[in-house]
């Protein structure tokens, strides 16, 4: 594209974690507070090297736990700084209480989350139980299929999170190991171009402003708590617009267009798969293959899970005849979190009533191969032909043992 304003980018082979560390270097936050946890460790290791070599102005706080990492991030943000952290799984679970505090205090803390299964049994590999569990914490959640998307999302993150109409913390999610540790080639943008795109951070009632002393973190009783929560909700509602605005500006600057979700060969698709993060890549490959055989298959890939763009997604799914949602996390005793959101979107905003089916897959890093995806699509076709989902609802894919 000739009208791009950015400087010259580089094509680099890099892991997803490495790409996020590069984005952090370019963003040059005032404070990073982080604790090592697999598979997010490379992010802070790389970043530590940038600190050690004087490539950033960042004060890196090597906290003794993730709980303290998020606490320090909130403190630093309230002190008027641009603040980042990185974590995974149990690390974010240990931050749990403070995730809510960051959001309710409207501190635009930025997190690079490398998705990993939550313990029980302990497992270091990918699923989305960490971020899906945190979906009600009040954080904006952007998901990334590739290294490039993880990097791009992080470059856009500060402008979304710090926007005066939003002021909410934001996590950029990528799949543990599958993306974080896999080397892919991607476009690393010019340092100055990223800096110009991200722009300066404007503090909001900094705790360091002794001329105007403010009180942060006061107790709310019944007379104010719900008003503050309503204001917080408005930040999330506004984020839908702001994410798109920043994404459009990113496209003008760097040439890659992102939206709240990606519709892949969706227009005439009768069978639509809905997925998040890296598995979308495999699904696209299967779709391309099936399309050559005339199968009307498409994909809707979520980018913004919080806020969730119900209306746009419902409309985008209006032509589908069956929608099969793949959840990489389980809500035990209930449908998967993505399935329930898609159901809500379709019920309220789609102009037809497609069949809806949800499956669970990939917990603890269990692979989902192209063959499994083909199977999911053929099962969807059978349901569509029969006009009902029946006992195919709620399958766990690629699990040993009889279906019951």
């Amino acid at each position: 594209m000739s009208n791009l304003t950015a400087g010259k980018p580089k094509i680099v082979p890099i892991t997803g974690a490495g790409a996020c560390a590069q984005a952090m270097r370019q963003i040059n936050p005032d404070v990073v507070a982080a604790f090592p946890i697999t598979p997010s460790t490379q992010i802070v290791e790389d970043f530590s090297a940038f600190v050690a070599n004087g490539q950033v102005d960042t004060e890196f706080v090597t906290v003794e736990s993730e709980h303290s990492a998020m606490s320090a991030c909130i403190g630093a943000s309230a002190a008027g700084g641009r603040v980042m952290t990185a974590t995974s799984s149990a690390g974010m679970a240990y931050m749990w209480e403070l995730l809510y505090v960051a959001a309710s205090m409207r501190q635009p803390v930025l997190m690079s989350l490398v998705n990993r299964a939550l313990t029980g049994p302990i497992n270091i590999h990918c699923d989305h139980s960490d971020s899906m569990g945190a979906r009600d914490a009040g954080w904006i959640q952007l998901y990334s299929e590739t290294n490039q998307e993880a990097y791009d999302n992080l470059v856009m993150a500060a402008r979304i999170a710090e926007h005066p109409d939003v002021r909410l913390p934001l996590m950029v999610c990528q799949d543990g190991f599958i993306i974080s540790h896999s080397i892919q080639t991607m476009q690393l943008e010019d340092d100055k171009a990223v800096k110009a795109f991200v722009g300066p951070h404007l503090p909001y009632h900094s705790i360091l402003d002794t001329a105007k002393p403010v009180t942060w973190g006061a107790l709310d009783l019944q007379d104010y708590y719900i008003e503050h929560k309503r204001g917080q909700e408005q930040g999330m509602r506004n984020a839908l617009r702001v994410i798109q605005e920043v994404s459009d500006d990113f496209a003008k600057t760097f040439g890659r267009q992102y939206n709240l979700f990606e519709d892949y060969r969706l227009d005439d698709a009768e069978i639509v798969l809905v997925a998040i993060n890296s598995v979308a890549g495999e699904i696209k490959e299967v779709i391309d293959e099936l399309r050559t055989k005339g199968e009307k298959v498409g994909l809707l890939k979520i980018r913004s899970f919080r806020p969730f763009p119900y209306e746009q997604i419902g409309q985008a799914l209006s032509n589908a005849k069956i929608i099969t949602v793949l959840d990489r996390s389980a809500s035990f005793g209930a449908h998967g979190p993505l399935f329930t959101e898609i159901s809500t979107a379709v019920y309220n905003y789609a102009s037809n009533r497609p069949l809806l089916m949800g499956h669970t897959f990939g917990l603890g890093g269990r692979e989902l191969t192209l063959r499994h995806i083909e199977h999911v699509i053929s099962e969807s076709r059978i349901c569509l032909d029969k006009g009902e989902v029946g006992n195919r609802q709620g399958m766990w894919l690629n699990v040993r043992g009889d279906k019951s």
């Binding site: 309710s104 205090m105 002021r167 009632h205 105007k212 942060w216 709310d220 008003e227 204001g231």
Partner: protein, 109 residues
Amino acid sequence: MSTLKTWQELPHGGVILEAGSAAKYETGSWRTWKPITHREHCIHCLACWEYCPEDAIVLEDGQDPSGGTRKFVKEVNYFHCKGCGLCVRECPVNKEGKVQALGFVRDEV
């Protein structure tokens, strides 16, 4: 009409922008006993001011006999005084036991 603010009127994140706004909150209504200053006996050592957890002992500037300025105990701020009696107990004049620089009387309801 309610003075409580709507959600749109509140600054983000529950921040309180007015420093020391609690000064507007009356805690004097908690009181059942109240300290009263007997200035004729007060030596203005400021112990009551130092020990008051409510910052309810009001000081004022005045002149000491040598002509220098110093702080003097002026009065009790009954809007905040909860009537705990710490000032009365810790008053060194009271402790001597001859006279009272701070009395403690039943507050009127």
